[in-house]
Amino acid sequence: MKTVHLRPIDMSAWNNIAAIVKRELGGYFTSPIAYVFLVIFLLLTGFFTFTVGSFFERGEASLVSFFTWHPWLYLFLVPAVGMRLWSEERRLGTMELLLTMPITTWQAILGKFLASWIFLALALALTFPVVVTVNWLGDPDNGVIVAGYAGSLLLAGAYLAVSCMTSAMTRNQVISFIVSVLLCLFLILAGYTPVTDLLSRFANPRVVEVIAAFSVMTHFEGFQRGVVDLRDAVFFASVMGFALFATGVIIRGQRAG
């Protein structure tokens, strides 16, 4: 039987990406790492929300104390998820297999990124008891909570794309992790209030503002308050876009020798 595909290239692109997503996700769950990660993530979010963030003492029906800590929590947890993406391929030599398959480098990069992002989304989704608790105890604005989750997911995606980029630089996962944490730390600190306060003592406030515009803190803040600003979403999307593009450039450079 002969079937006619109007746009066969697009279809096969999605099939290729789906195959890679499936493989990567399967890779997480066949090793104990995924479960260890989920447990640590949930324990830490709980600890920061209820103990450090004094969820109960606040006496308000909101998840501010939950979301506030996400940029810091992700600083270590997201690079831990992303560090193996490409460095493992290089260490095992499977990169040679993957990139001689009839797929484009972009499909491979996107597939790997999406798989890890879905994994992080799953981890985030497993925090639902916090939402249940706050709804049971009081009457929160669930719109704000949804916005907070959306922002958190974008934040995780931005960090992940950076980790994806650093993991393409080296076959050593530890180096990949450290470089990724440093870059993400910069993304936090550029807009972290104590740092911007310090900077504005020396520098022109305009300059400080420009630097802060590169920070995830500046753009995550709105989501936490329930304000979904398109500009903030565009910021996160551009960080992801840029980092993934850089990943492609790095891989291309390595192959060219």
């Binding site: 096969s12 099939n15 290729n16 789906a18 195959a19 890679i20 499936k22 493989r23 399967g26 890779g27 066949t30 090793s31 095992l92 030599g93 499977t94 040679e96 297999l97 993957l98 990139l99 001689t100 398959m101 009839p102 797929i103 484009t104 192959r255 060219a256 020798g257």
Partner: protein, 319 residues
């Protein structure tokens, strides 16, 4: 099916591959020989589209590898050096993944995986994860991946490396059987493999092709190709070599061994090449002189001697 023209690859100032050109047609099995670091793997990586060449052209099944890589890569099955595999996947999971990336779905995928599993004898380890496999099984898993879509072109970097003699034999037979309908390139260090499976051999040294021909043509280039080797009883070695030196067409004669009254000599032809004339002349002389012959035969050149004579001077110089 594969056309490679003036391929060059530079890593910094070092030329890993220097002006390599060859073609491989369907039905041909091309053996790639060369010392370590000669540029075999680099050439294969360029042919399969893993790394781009510094200059030159690669055409696979009519598609240019640089301009149109996807349809070109579709035609190729590739077994990279050291047979990499995803450590955390099971064999069947890995083969399914490879089949999906080759665009196989549903029933076609199942069939392809089953076929590859049968060809490479993987039934017993299907559900084992790749990092628990022995080297031989790991190798065959990666080979199964390369065969999964029944490709027209097979590129294999040391396909028998790390296998035991039985497995080597199986893989060699597999290559020979598939060679009839596919275009195959494989690299190896093992010279018997080349004689057993190849229709053509390329010897590559320090990035350049130094020999290209059938195994028979290459063997004829050996210094001892066409030499006559004989064992004679009850004769003085000096008398024997003197008599042999007078045979027309004979070159140097050397005494190889002398024990228990037996003298073993080798007579090189004056001009290399094995046409048998020298053997007939030596036999005539032996009959005339009534030598007590124990053994008389024409030597075929040996591939390893050709290989050494072509690549050794360079290797020694490099050291």
């Amino acid at each position: 099916m594969i056309e490679v023209e003036h391929l060059v690859k530079a890593f910094g100032p070092k030329l890993a591959v220097n002006d390599v050109s060859f073609t491989v047609e369907r039905g041909e099995v091309l053996g790639f020989l060369g010392p370590n670091g000669a540029g075999k793997s680099t050439t294969m990586r360029m042919v399969t589209g893993f790394i781009p060449p510094t200059s030159g052209r690669i055409t696979v099944g009519g598609y240019d590898m640089l301009e149109n890589p996807i349809p070109a890569k579709r035609l190729i099955g590739y077994l990279p050096e050291n047979a990499p595999g995803y450590a955390d996947m099971t064999v069947v999971g890995f083969l399914n993944f490879a089949a999906e990336l080759r665009g196989l779905q549903g029933e076609a995928k199942k069939k392809a995986v089953r076929r590859a599993v049968e060809l490479c004898f993987l039934e017993s380890v299907l559900h084992q994860s790749i990092d628990t496999l022995s080297k031989g099984y790991k190798h065959r898993t990666c080979l199964a991946q390369a065969l999964i879509h029944d490709p027209d072109i097979l590129v294999m970097d040391e396909p028998t490396d790390g296998l035991d003699p039985n497995q080597k034999h199986e893989v060699r037979n597999l290559i020979k059987a598939m060679g009839a309908s596919k275009a195959i390139i494989f690299s190896t260090h093992i010279l018997e493999e080349v004689e057993a499976a190849c229709t053509r051999v390329i010897i590559i040294d320090r990035g350049r092709i130094v020999a290209n021909g059938t195994p028979e043509e290459l063997k004829a280039r050996a210094a001892n190709a066409g030499a006559v080797r004989m064992r004679v009883k009850n004769i003085a070695p000096a008398a024997l070599t003197q008599a042999l030196a007078r045979v027309p067409g004979a070159g140097r004669a050397e005494v190889l061994a002398e024990r228990d009254g037996l003298v073993e000599v080798r007579v090189y032809p004056a001009r290399p090449g094995a046409d048998g004339a020298l053997t007939r002349d030596v036999a005539e002389l032996a009959a005339r002189e009534r030598w007590q012959l124990d053994e008389l035969h024409t030597e075929e050149g040996r591939l390893d001697e050709v290989f050494r004579s072509i690549t050794l001077p360079d290797t020694v110089r490099a050291q």
